[in-house]
């Protein structure tokens, strides 16, 4: 079984040389720490930056340099700033190779819900709906079950949707799963110490073993 750092480390293996990658908030942000130094990757921040670097050293922070999570960041050689309309232009026109984001629920059809819990505070969808509607390659990083112990891999999402038929791959603390075009969560690998029974027990949607 993996912790959130382990999930991030596993997802980093999916990133290939030359990729432009958009990382969402939460576990996806951690992925940046595990990208191999042998490959060249550009991180996109949808508020208008390609080539995002690490956090600044204390005292070197700059209010004009932030990421989509409003955290202070730095740039790298080759970085470029642009406006919000162009930022989503490059997302819609498929220039971004990989999008990694968190989710509250994913359905066996690849539907994703990650922006709203009715009756509770609605914070807004931010850029998530745009990203999932256009990205060709979406990996979801999340826990297999929610805090109440209920499966987040479902036959159908119960929460308001962010996008439909878009998730291709899910990495949880239990394993790696492909969402099949015909529907279903195909087990690609189980993490060390995880049994098939554990995955069956924690997956409500159709599992393809």
């Amino acid at each position: 079984m993996l912790d959130k750092y382990g999930i991030a480390k596993r997802i980093a293996k999916e990133i290939q040389d030359g990729y432009y990658v958009n990382l969402g908030i939460g576990i996806p942000t951690l992925v940046a720490n595990y990208i191999s130094e042998d490959i060249n990757v550009m991180l996109q921040s949808e508020n208008g930056l390609l080539g995002m670097g690490p956090f600044p050293y204390e005292g070197e922070e700059d209010a004009d340099y932030i990421n989509a999570g409003k955290q202070t960041i730095t740039t790298l050689p080759g970085s470029v700033f642009f406006d919000s309309a162009m930022s989503f232009g490059m997302i819609r026109s498929r220039k971004i190779d990989l999008t990694i984001l968190g989710a509250m629920e994913v359905s066996e059809q690849g539907d994703i819900a990650n922006w709203k819990i009715p009756g509770k505070m609605v914070k807004g969808m931010g850029g998530a709906m745009d990203l999932v509607a256009s990205a060709q390659n979406i990996i979801v990083a999340m826990q297999h079950v929610n805090k109440a112990g209920e499966s987040k891999l479902l036959s159908a999402c119960t929460l308001p949707l962010t996008g439909i038929r878009c998730v291709k791959k899910i990495v949880t603390e239990l394993g790696v799963f492909d969402v099949l075009p015909q529907g279903g969560f195909k087990i690609v690998e189980l993490h060390e110490g995880v049994t098939l029974d554990q995955v069956r027990y924690s997956t409500q949607g159709k599992l393809v073993e």
Partner: protein
Amino acid sequence: MINKSVSNALEAIREVKSGMTIAVGGFGLCGIPENLIAALMAKDLKELTCISNNAGVDDFGLGLLLQRRQIKKMIASYVGENAEFERQMLSGELEVELVPQGTLATRLMAGGYGLPVVYTPAGVGTEVAEGKEVRTFKFHGVEKEYLMEYAFEPDFALVKAWKGDRTGNLIYRGTAQNFNHAMAMCGKITIAEVEELVEPGVLDPNFIHTPGVYVHRIFQGENYEKRIEQRTFRPKE
């Protein structure tokens, strides 16, 4: 030479009236027009409809106008940093339209490009699609559904740039560009505040972000706080 410079924020917003729709630049607190927001507050305009990616925090940015009940309706993509916003929304005092961030930026852009509508796949199959025209296009080699979204035509756009000249040409810095460029382009009247206002000819025409034709008033702001929401560091090596 066309001179659009005015002396300060209050003079710049002279024609802004209660009940108008205004686009306000910035992403979080980065690149927000601090002086213009303060002027809206000082003039105590009411019933405003604000188009802005976020709603500020409780005591800064658009949060200042929310505290004073100056905003009737908020059109935004993410409003999670503001407790007063949450209170007003849940009590029904504030009308809220949540728009996907790319759709928001693109509707602003469309206004500035003279296009009444755009089609975007964002929100297809979700509650964002309710009541909207859906069309199928073959694009990028695949058939896919798209939502028709209308361009924004705000009465005023209030933006912040790093440098500008008296003809209204603007240059932004870093990620403070964000929504400011698209908003500047779509305002019926666009007001820009800049950290440094220079004479025409000083800025290299090769490196202007927003051409001055889109800007109607410009002034040099003062006392920029440039507050940071999430101060994050890496350890010293």
